[in-house]
């Protein structure tokens, strides 16, 4: 019984397929997913087998490695799911030595099939249509239950529209989505990112995307139902086996190869420090290069467009946990944080109720699309060389005119793409008012405590107060310099920061932090603003790191440099 309940809660639910609508011409590829699902899984199994089974030594190694890695993980996990699987892995490892090559290949096939079934998402157009109608309502309702009846009567959800703004070349992206496969590669700040992006795509008439979501996000049955049926595939970060990673990579590659618009967070994990991600490994996003090569080799010239995007929040749901994790230097060890604010309904509620009072609480900015070889693309989807002439993207995966599949070459392209996307992130960042107020306050803290190192400074709670009048003045000066940088095309300034008075920006930031965060970030005491939580200030201001020096005045330059140099990993 326990195992049945467990299964029910962990296996994503699907609606019966028999009555489902048929995909129409012009629908995005994902509307055809259910018809292709079985084929895709079979192809994942076939390619994974091809990758490992050609060499008997490699085959034996990969099975042994998977067996031992899984036994170690499941033994530590110790729940019902683990108990079931543990036995079969132990039996496999015991028998491996005596098996023939064919028996081993058969084991590899059946294990890969289980893995691929677990990874593969689902897409139900009925759920998509339901979500199209429900999501704005649900989000708005969560954010402001009292306002819902009025909005329903007025027939719109303008509040949510005002809350999340989308910027960038949206018309061009809509056109490119018709001409090739979009690979969205946004910055990653919060577990809400994918939900917010999904909503923005829907609102802006951009096609839905498939993406790999951490299996931990599927633990809530309702969220799991929607995610699973809207094309999300499951990535179990706890599984370290090479075989699993290969199956996952193959799945992601196949989706792009078949023209499914995709989303990856190339930073891998949420930015612990609040900084813009600078070193990207791309991970699964790198499979887009392979997918392009494979299609070219088959004579299929479907372009792939990488679209960098930045998500810029006034308040970050998980800020407290993330910065704490960053300062502990535990970012890697706690790769999967399952006890953060995202797992607590009360925190999500507090977050949403605060967020709803803000305008442009989240600015999603899409950058210009590039091909897998870092060339810009024009409105027609053609790759453009520095000379301004079109260049054939197929030439990058060809030698002497013949296209080929070459993982080592594609790894080189992927590294270059990582660098190019990181550069775009910086240029496409939208500075939000809370970040600027945090930066000016934090810079003051550094100015007032020049002798301290990072960790000693972070402990100075309630000790340093900045005159409010000075804070407002420095915010105004820094905004002027940011606007200058924006005019030079090096950054963007958010709508609120651009239009509101510095006085108002300071008040709003203090009030936003006070109402959402459990810790007091800074509070007004007489004519001063007392710094209470340097950690959260550090988190919000870290977004401004690349511009810290140019925002400083002569007097604050040393403090700004010190902030830049204390840097750290994103």
């Amino acid at each position: 019984m326990r195992s049945f309940v467990h299964r029910l809660l962990t296996r994503p639910l699907r609606l019966p397929a028999v009555l489902g609508p048929k995909p129409q011409p012009g629908d995005p590829q994902i509307f055809r997913f259910n018809g292709e699902r079985e084929q895709i899984i079979a192809e994942v199994v076939r390619r994974t087998e091809q990758h490992f089974a050609a060499d008997p030594k490699k085959l034996l190694y990969v099975l042994n490695e998977a067996g031992h890695a899984e036994i170690r993980r499941l033994a530590a996990q110790g729940d019902a799911e683990a108990d079931q699987a543990l036995g079969s892995w132990r039996r496999l490892v015991k028998r491996l030595g005596k098996m023939s090559d064919e028996e081993r290949a058969e084991s590899l096939r059946s294990i890969t099939r289980v893995m691929a079934e677990d990874i593969a998402g689902n897409f139900d157009p009925r759920v998509y249509k339901l979500a199209t109608r429900l999501v704005p309502g649900v989000l708005t309702a969560v954010m402001n239950p009292m306002g819902l009846p009025t909005q329903l009567l007025s027939g719109g959800f303008s509040q949510l529209d005002a809350l999340i703004s989308a910027e960038g070349p949206l018309d061009k992206l809509r056109r490119l989505a018709q001409k090739g496969t979009l690979v969205l590669v946004p910055t990653h700040s919060s577990n809400l990112d994918s939900v917010a992006l999904g909503y923005v795509l829907m609102r802006e008439n951009l096609p839905p995307v498939v993406y790999g979501a951490g299996k931990n996000l599927f633990s809530n049955p309702l969220i799991s139902f929607f995610m699973h049926n809207l094309g999300a595939y499951r990535v179990d970060r706890r599984v370290s086996a090479l075989l699993y990673k290969e199956a996952l990579k193959t799945y992601s590659c196949l989706m792009i190869e078949r023209g499914y618009h995709s989303l990856f967070f190339p930073g891998g994990t949420r930015s612990r420090s609040g900084m813009i991600e600078r070193r990207l490994k791309l991970g699964l996003a790198g499979t887009a290069v392979e997918a392009f090569s494979r299609n070219q080799s088959r004579g299929l010239h479907r372009p792939v467009f990488f679209v960098p995007a930045t998500l810029n929040y006034a308040l970050v749901l998980e800020a407290e946990t993330l910065i704490e994790d960053h300062l502990k230097g535990a970012g890697q060890a706690r790769y999967i944080i399952d006890d953060d604010e995202f797992s607590r309904v009360d925190r999500i509620y507090a977050f949403m109720t605060k967020l709803v009072t803000l305008r442009s609480a989240l600015v999603v900015r899409f950058g210009d699309a590039m091909d897998p070889f870092c060339n810009p693309v024009d409105d027609e989807g053609r790759s453009i060389a520095p000379s301004g002439q079109p260049v054939d993207p197929g030439s990058y995966v060809s030698r002497r005119g013949v296209p080929s599949i070459d993982p080592a070459r594609d790894a080189g392209y992927t590294r270059e793409l990582g660098d190019a996307i990181a550069r775009e992130y910086q240029r496409e960042t939208v500075i939000i008012w809370t970040q600027l107020v945090a930066h000016v306050l934090y810079r003051y803290l550094v100015w007032a405590t020049p002798e301290l190192d990072l960790f000693s400074r972070q402990r100075r709670r309630g000790e340093v107060a900045m005159p409010r009048e000075q804070l407002v003045r420095e915010v105004a000066e820094a905004r002027e310099r940011l606007l200058q940088a924006e005019a030079e095309g090096r950054v963007h300034v958010g709508p609120v920061l651009r239009s509101q008075s510095p006085e108002r920006i300071v008040s709003e930031a203090l009030s936003a932090w006070r109402d959402y965060h459990t810790k007091v970030v800074a509070r007004e005491v007489g004519d001063d603003v007392l710094i209470e939580d340097p950690n959260l200030l550090l988190f919000y201001q870290n977004r401004l790191l690349p511009w810290a020096e140019e925002l400083a005045t002569e007097e604050t330059l040393a403090a700004a440099r010190s902030i830049v140099n204390q840097g750290g990993k994103a």
């Binding site: 060389a385 520095p386 260049v391 990058y396 002497r400 070459d406 080592a408 070459r409 080189g412």
Partner: protein, 313 residues
């Protein structure tokens, strides 16, 4: 399918050296230079413009670093993603000390790019005397193509994917060779020269790592290997330039020794400014930059180098 010809840009000694190495490897070379200075051979075709180089798959840039960008722009019109570009120039560009592969990438549609570094010298390439170097590229195909084009019994080519490290090491060696020439000009003996070389390379490695390169690249052919060849006397102009600076010769005379002086001067200034900005400890490079730019008298620079506090190695 027969191998395509190999393109070479630059009719200086190095350009011709590469052309002869290509010839020795049994391939056809296409050499483009505004002043070729010599006549072509059966396997070295002199071509009159960049368009003819599109026929090649691999194209070498054997021109001084200040000309790389404009030539790349001119050539880029005729190329696509199927071409491989490899440069042999020393030098860094911009405040963030980018290597010239970055220039090749931004001025042409080519992405499969690389750099040839290490103790390769033009004369050995021309005569076929034993020599070697290191080819750096993120793309194994480019590394293999360079080995196929010029490698052989006379040219031993190692390879690395650390392009950043190899390019910066190569630039740093150019500076250090000048610094050693400068030390020689002041009558400093082998021990002082060795100290200068070793500490300078340690500094270069620190900077290289900060730029994203690997420490071991500086200990290899692109770093120490190249510097040893310079000190052993492979007649490169940097040593002569260093000696001329030590003798306080007029700038225009130094400039006529070799085109590398002004490049070196510019690179030294850029590197020194970078280390100040990112707070990297680089006393040797900072002093070299100041002495080359004649901001401090030569004698003072030597005294300052020798009076630095000695620390742990």
């Amino acid at each position: 399918m027969s191998a395509p010809p190999v393109g070479i840009i630059g009719g200086g000694n190095f350009g011709w050296g590469l052309a002869h190495a290509v010839e020795r490897a049994g391939r056809q070379a296409l050499l483009w230079s505004r002043r070729p200075q010599r006549a072509g051979t059966e396997h070295i075709d002199l071509v009159s413009g960049p368009a003819a180089l599109a026929e090649a798959e691999l194209i070498f840039f054997a021109v001084p670093s200040p000309y790389v960008a404009s030539i790349a722009r001119e050539l880029g019109v005729y190329l696509d993603g199927g071409h491989f570009l490899v440069h042999i120039s020393r030098g860094v560009v911009g405040d963030d000390l980018h290597g010239l592969t970055q220039v090749l990438r931004s001025e042409t549609p080519c992405r499969r790019v690389g750099a040839l570094a290490g103790p390769l010298v033009a004369e050995a390439l021309i005569t076929g005397a034993p020599s070697g170097g290191v080819v750096a590229s993120r793309f194994p195909e480019v590394r293999a193509a360079v080995r196929e084009a010029i490698g052989g019994p006379a040219v031993r080519l190692y390879s690395t994917d650390d392009v950043t490290g190899a390019e910066f090491a190569s630039t740093a060696v150019g500076l250090f060779a000048t610094a050693i020439g400068f030390a020689q000009g002041h009558g400093l003996g082998p021990a002082a020269q060795a100290m200068l070389a070793t500490r300078a390379m340690a500094e270069a490695a620190r900077i290289g790592v900060a730029l994203g390169g690997k420490h071991e690249t500086f200990m290899g052919l692109a770093g120490f290997g190249d510097l040893m060849a310079a000190v052993a006397g492979d007649d490169r102009p940097e040593l002569a330039i260093g000696r001329a600076i030590a003798e306080n010769q007029p700038l225009e005379e130094i400039g006529s020794i070799g085109g590398t002086y002004f490049e070196g001067l510019e690179s030294a200034g850029r590197i020194a400014a970078y280390t100040r900005r990112v707070k990297l400890y680089a006393p040797v490079i900072t002093l070299c930059a100041a002495a080359f730019a004649r901001e401090i008298p030569a004698g003072e620079a030597v005294a300052a180098l020798m009076s630095r506090e000695a620390g742990e190695e």
